[in-house]
């Protein structure tokens, strides 16, 4: 796709159509392996196309790792998996300098790349590693680079982190700090599959041959799709709506929702608004539109903001779910021109 084509309206039209079509093809291919979980797959792909990272939360055995592996297969990207444990060290993730002896017998230090040098990184059970190790991911997730000693190594685009955590077993874990939580584009909650989905899973996984996903997109196509998504214009009124939704999560602002004032300690950061807008742009393209609507902003508000709203003492004690607060905000925040 040339620049001339991009500039022409017809080219843009076809680019939008191609975006939607490619996204649908990826979903269909993933759907051959993964049963249900449409919202998880959509959220994961939107995060990938929005240059974000995803935190998957769910009980063991419901396919978190399988989803990530399938996404990597379909997108034909390099994939690494790190099982986070309490004894995992930062060097185990980013790599380290090792002594290398040449054929002539000379010895010199060579940087041995860690598993982070990949396109898709599965950080399995991320909350089991120590904060020191968790923080090794911070720079990589935000800057898309790794610094070892005095040398900074760029990570190959697209760099996409999929972290998982188990909400049940909290003993011996290190909850992710707020700064690291904020770096995740979406926090997706994988629910236990429904009965009819269970039948489908049994049918697929208990046969001699399990279905395999084929490659649909390559790296370059993904990068073009990323550019396309960010090009979608958004009207000020819709952007204002996204900002008002975010401000409603702040307990100390005039826009604060009553539930926020009662149960929240801190609201979503500007990154949260960015997430709403960029996610809204991708969602608009997926619906064949070249403008962002308020509906697009709301579509993925829960995964975008649920990990960015921190509950206060009363909220924790009352076992308030941030999703409940966000749903109330969505319901009570009027759209522009209403």
């Amino acid at each position: 796709m040339t620049t001339t084509q991009l500039d022409s309206l017809d080219g843009l039209d076809s680019q939008v159509s191609e975006f939607t079509e490619q996204f649908q093809r990826v979903k269909d291919e993933i759907g051959r392996v993964i049963v249900g979980n449409d919202e998880i797959i959509d959220g994961t792909l939107i995060s990938l196309l929005s240059k974000g990272h995803v935190l998957l939360e769910g009980i063991p055995g419901i396919g978190k790792t399988k989803i990530v592996a399938t996404v990597a297969d379909v997108l034909h990207l390099t994939f690494s998996r790190i099982q986070f444990t309490p004894d995992l060290m930062p060097g185990d993730i980013v790599g380290s300098d090792v002594v290398h002896e040449s054929d002539t017998g000379e010895k010199h230090l060579t940087f041995q790349r860690g598993p982070i040098f990949t396109h898709i990184l599965l950080a399995d059970e991320i909350n089991r590693a120590t904060p020191k190790t968790q923080s090794a991911l911070l720079e990589a997730m935000q800057e898309r680079s790794v610094t070892v000693g005095t040398t900074t190594h760029r990570l190959p685009p697209p760099f996409f982190v999929l972290a998982t955590q188990n909400p049940l077993e909290m003993e011996g874990t290190y909850p992710l700090p707020e700064a690291q939580l904020d770096r995740f584009f979406y926090k997706l909650k994988i629910q236990y599959p429904e009965a009819h989905h269970m039948h489908e899973i049994m049918d697929r996984t208990t046969r001699r041959e399990e279905p395999e996903a084929g490659m649909v997109l390559d790296r370059d196509q993904i990068l073009v799709m990323r550019d396309t998504a960010r090009s979608v214009p958004i009207a000020r009124a819709v952007q204002d709506y996204a900002i008002r939704l975010t401000l409603a999560t702040h307990p100390d602002t005039p826009h604060a929702h009553p539930l926020t004032q009662r149960y929240a300690r801190f609201g979503a950061s500007p990154r949260g608004t960015q997430t709403l807008v960029i996610g809204g742009k991708v969602n608009a393209l997926l619906n064949g539109r070249v403008h962002v609507s308020c509906e697009d902003i709301r579509a993925f508000m829960l995964p975008a903001l649920r990990h960015r709203v921190l509950l206060n003492f009363e909220g924790e004690a009352e076992r308030i779910d941030t999703d409940m607060i966000l749903e109330a905000i969505m319901k009570d925040t009027p759209e522009p021109s209403e």
């Binding site: 958004i234 000020r236 819709v238 009363e314």
Partner: protein, 531 residues
């Protein structure tokens, strides 16, 4: 050119939609205004049937409503096109997912980029498909049905003959009764002044009556004030009664001296019958006949008059002096002087007669004033509101017992009467009247000044009074701490408590089943921070 066309297409469609929206809004506002005006007219028609009130003319209501609606209509149309709102309406009604709204915002920004052009181009295509008539159809508000109903009710009510208020609310009834009583009392005082005339009535009482009449006519007084004026007037009118009684006693004493007199027999009879004017005429006749009397009769008359003039009654000293002159003149055989002195006696008696007549008139006016006071005492207080309050007080005093049929009904009724009497005459502390129903006399309020002091026993102050005089809250707190009732102050405990709370909540994961317990604990020790 294409871009300009697309933008103008969107703008044109939005203008048509805006016109439709405005038209519907105008219909909506018109329906509201019509209902309000018709509702007001209905109230105006119905209110006089319920309560005696004066209502403004119908034309005024219609004109005011029309003017207000026109002003609101003009105000609502000021500001030109509202295309942004129209874009929102189009998006909402055609389910366009904010397409027109977004496109119009970029048109207003005069922003141009391939993506914006694509957005505007798509929005223009969508706008061409929009039919403003279908999108914003003319909607006749259902409120017009209500307006029609109100109009029908008004037409029906125009056919119903108006026979005055059908219902009398308590307040309106009280107000009417108050006004009627006020007019009745004004008429009564007016009759009193006009009937007795300025000549007979006491000047002070007359002034008080005229003042009360003026206030009643101007409706500036309450029944309490009127009662006070009447009481003052009655006091002024009764001031001459004491003097009149003394004069009568003196005249009776005088008449005893004339008992058995041959020439003064008729005079005595008239005097005994309180016909002082006739008695004065008898004296004048006697004066004319004085020269014709036989010497012994004349001497007997002189003796009688001489004895009478010796009576010690200062009230009639002028009369006695004249009698003394008559007796002296007869004794000295100066008949002309005796006649002249006898004329003065008659004149003095005439004056006494006139004074007594005035006092009797005053007494009659006093009786009328007293009757009015009695009527006022039976009347509820100075205003309808006061009357309402007094009835409430009376009811609260009697309670529900008056409605209950119990063996002690008689006792209950007597209690109600006495409490009612208290309610009608003002504060119980000032009433000094007969509880059996006679008019009460209101006395001035009294104040009892008292000063509490410690009793001195054997000239010594009690021991507890010599201890520390007064301790404020802070002193008490410190004192308790000194006595080791409280070792550590709460403010010193609070900071560690907050630290403990923070460390407990942030550093440790609290099992769900214990969270409510932990919450209750921390809320219990920091009640001031609970929302």
């Amino acid at each position: 050119v294409s871009r300009v066309t697309e933008r103008s297409t969107i703008t044109a469609v939005l203008r048509r939609i805006d016109l439709k929206v405005r038209f519907n809004q105008t219909l909506h506002h018109l329906s509201v205004a019509t209902c309000l005006v018709l509702g007001a007219l209905l109230v105006i028609e119905v209110a006089p049937l319920l309560v005696p009130v004066s209502v403004p003319p119908v034309s005024l209501i219609v004109m005011a409503g029309s003017a207000a609606f026109l002003a609101f209509l003009i105000w609502s149309q000021v500001g030109g096109w509202r295309l942004e709102h129209a874009a929102g309406v189009a998006d909402q009604r055609a389910d366009l997912h904010d397409e027109i709204k977004s496109a119009y915002w970029f048109i207003r920004q005069d922003d141009s980029s391939p993506w914006v052009d694509l957005l505007v181009g798509r929005a223009a295509q969508t706008a061409r498909r929009l039919d403003p008539r279908r999108l914003v159809p003319v909607t006749i508000p259902k409120r017009f049905g209500l307006a029609l109903l109100l109009f029908g009710v008004l037409q029906v009510m125009a056919l119903v003959p108006s026979g005055g208020p059908l219902l009398k609310f308590a307040a309106a009834s009280d107000s009417t009764r108050f006004e009627q009583a006020r007019e009745a009392y004004a008429d009564e005082i007016r009759d009193l002044i006009d009937g007795e005339g300025d000549e007979l009535l006491d000047e002070d009482a007359l002034a008080l009556f005229e003042t009360a009449l003026g206030e009643l006519e101007a409706a500036e007084t309450s029944f309490d004030d009127l009662l006070r004026d009447l009481r003052d007037a009655q006091d002024a009118l009764g001031e001459g009664n004491l003097e009149m009684t003394a004069t009568r006693d003196a005249l009776e004493e005088l008449l005893q001296q004339f008992a058995g007199s041959k020439e003064l027999g008729e005079f005595v009879d008239d005097m005994m019958n309180q016909n002082l004017s006739d008695a004065a005429e008898r004296l004048r006749d006697l004066s004319d006949r004085l020269g014709d009397l036989a010497p012994q009769d004349l001497a007997e008359l002189g003796d009688r008059l001489q004895d009478a003039s010796q009576v010690d009654e200062p009230v009639i000293d002028e009369l006695l002096a004249a009698l003394q002159e008559v007796a002296d003149a007869i004794a000295e055989d100066r008949l002309d002087d005796a006649k002249e002195a006898l004329e003065r006696v008659a004149a003095a008696l005439g004056e006494i007669a006139q004074l007594q007549a005035r006092q009797e008139a005053n007494n009659e006016a006093s009786d009328v004033a007293e009757a009015m006071q009695e009527a006022l005492a039976q009347q509820p207080g100075g205003s309808p509101e006061q009357d309402q309050g007094q009835r409430t007080q009376s009811q609260s005093a009697s309670g529900e017992r008056s409605d209950a049929s119990s063996p002690s009904d008689e006792v209950t009724r007597s209690e109600d009467v006495s409490s009612g009497a208290r309610a009608q005459t003002g504060p119980a502390g000032n009433a000094t009247g007969d509880p059996s129903g006679n008019p009460l006399e209101l006395g001035a309020s009294t104040t009892l000044e008292a000063q509490l002091a410690l009793e001195l026993i054997d000239g010594k102050t009690p021991a507890f009074a010599e201890e520390e005089p007064e301790l404020d809250a802070e002193d008490l707190f410190q004192e308790a701490s000194r006595q080791q009732t409280s070792i550590v102050q709460y403010r010193d405990v609070r900071a560690p408590s907050q630290y403990s709370q923070g460390s407990a909540l942030n550093a440790e994961r609290i099992p769900w089943q214990y969270r409510s317990l932990v919450k209750k604990y921390f809320l219990a020790i920091r009640p001031d921070e609970r929302k």
